[in-house]
Amino acid sequence: MIFLNQILQGLFLGAYYALIACSLSFLFGVMRIINLAHGSLAVLAAFLLFVLADRFGLSPWLGLIAVVPVMAALGWVLQVLVLERSLKGGLLVPLLSTFGLAIVVDNLLFEGFGADTRSLAPAIGDLAFASWTLSDDVTIGQLDVIILVAAITVLGGLQLFLARTRLGRTIRATAEEPEIVGLIGIDSRAVYALATAIALALAAIAGAFLGLRATFNPYSGGMQLLFAFEAVVIGGFGSLWGTLIGGIVLGIAQNLGAFITPHGFLIAGHGFFLAVLIARLYLAPLADRVRRRGRKVVAA
């Protein structure tokens, strides 16, 4: 039963990873940018929510109504001022510029808030630790369930938005053929700005759950980026449902690692991530060869 509980807790942790990875995956899918400032921007959103809760007594749930549009606007500005120019410089420049942005955001937060660790949990009362006990060994945190529902809703909503709406189709078309969309009347620069705005709005939601389920400080962004990156790579870059699965698999791997040894949490997660990377490197060409051979057989 304890083992089952570890898997269950891993699932909930993985839902959080999926939530924080969703924005990274989306931005890569649309613009082929790996936003290294992603974790820092999520932490920035957590700090904004903290200020609203601490100074104005605003619940983080209500605070999101203000913070999501602010982060979306920041995304728009980020695209126009930084990413758009960086993209013209090739693949490496956006990596460097978002890495630089992460350093700037981290240090501005340090300047403004100091090194103290904060949390949004006090602002939601009992919900932060309330749980349902299913048996002696199995408990489910209520906040964890909310995070899982939020992850499925956000990823599912984004998937639906991309598949079913005109704007979603526009974003997908731009992601696939950025030059050609201009020839059918789409301004790719505006689409990229919109995509970055959506990505940062998603980062704001992830930042809220980071603050609700754990503590954070100005330098927490790096670790969040790492987990998000691992979830995205495990699930397949650019695939939203893959991101959910990747997050959950990572969460379960970490929790099982911790079950084996207390130090196993991070090692198991990183180890699993590496194993997936190596498997991709060696198995993908093999699978491709098998597929091609299969096609030849069918053609014959």
């Binding site: 050609i180 201009g182 059918i184």
Partner: protein
């Protein structure tokens, strides 16, 4: 007044001078066949007119307005649509999505799915298929249909028949004939000279970025174009402003 006027257009690919001082004029309802060997500058010229390639010098006027520096998406709104070489469909999307994503972005009164499918009925059973899974001919039909969704006044077609089977090309040209009968204005880049001469009202031949021949299709012999094509004779009409 001409619908499209190109004056002294120059375009480069880095150090390569792809289009050199091209002059063209096209009236509403005309079909211009742009012919020339590979690397003659046909694609670059079309892309420059559509706004996908920056003009290094010269002017492009469309319906009286100077559009030389206008971005491609704003030229679509004025009524210019390019079907690029290689089709360049959104292969991960369905045919229907490819068409719908282009709807309502061009001129007012843009094409609808129904009107476009009327011109290309072969796409009707393929609407839910992924564009990447279509045959070459079907992809070309979808690419032209996508361009028509913006209700263009000027349709630029780059290498329509390239890599397609003769049957697929025949079917495509049948649809194009319907468009032409409806009074469409088209600039057509076509390697099949005989077909280009049959469809077009005028022919312009490019060689190394320059116009080496321009004349009415009805008065143009295959031999004359071939001479201009390979630069075997002088350039009799190169100074005729593409007319």
């Amino acid at each position: 007044m001409s619908l499209l006027t190109v004056e002294g257009l120059e375009a480069r690919h880095g150090l390569l001078h792809a289009v050199r001082g091209v002059d063209l004029a096209l009236d509403e309802g005309e079909t211009l066949a742009l012919v020339g060997a590979n690397g003659a500058g046909k694609t670059t010229l079309l892309r420059a007119i559509a706004g996908a390639h920056r003009a290094a010098a010269g002017r492009i006027r469309f319906a009286g307005a100077d559009i030389t520096t206008l971005p491609a998406h704003r030229r679509v709104k004025l009524g210019i649509a390019l079907v690029p070489e290689g089709r360049r469909l959104f292969t991960g999307m369905t045919v229907e999505e490819n068409l719908l994503v282009a709807a309502g972005r061009g001129r007012a009164g843009g094409g609808t799915l129904a009107t476009v499918l009327e011109a290309f009925p072969q796409l009707r059973p393929k609407l839910k298929a992924r564009a990447g899974d279509l045959s070459g001919g079907q992809q070309q039909a979808a690419a032209i249909a996508r361009a028509l969704m913006s209700n263009p006044r000027l349709l630029l077609l780059d290498e329509v028949s390239l890599g397609l089977s003769p049957v697929a090309v025949d079917q495509l040209y049948l649809s194009l004939q319907t468009l032409l009968a409806g009074g469409a204005t088209i600039v057509l880049v076509e390697q099949d000279l005989g077909r280009a001469l049959r469809v077009a009202s005028r022919v312009v031949c490019l060689l190394e970025g320059r116009v080496t021949y321009a004349g009415a299709a009805g008065e143009t012999t295959r031999e004359r174009v071939m001479d201009a094509y390979f630069g075997l004779s002088g350039a009799p009409d190169a100074t005729a402003g593409g007319r």
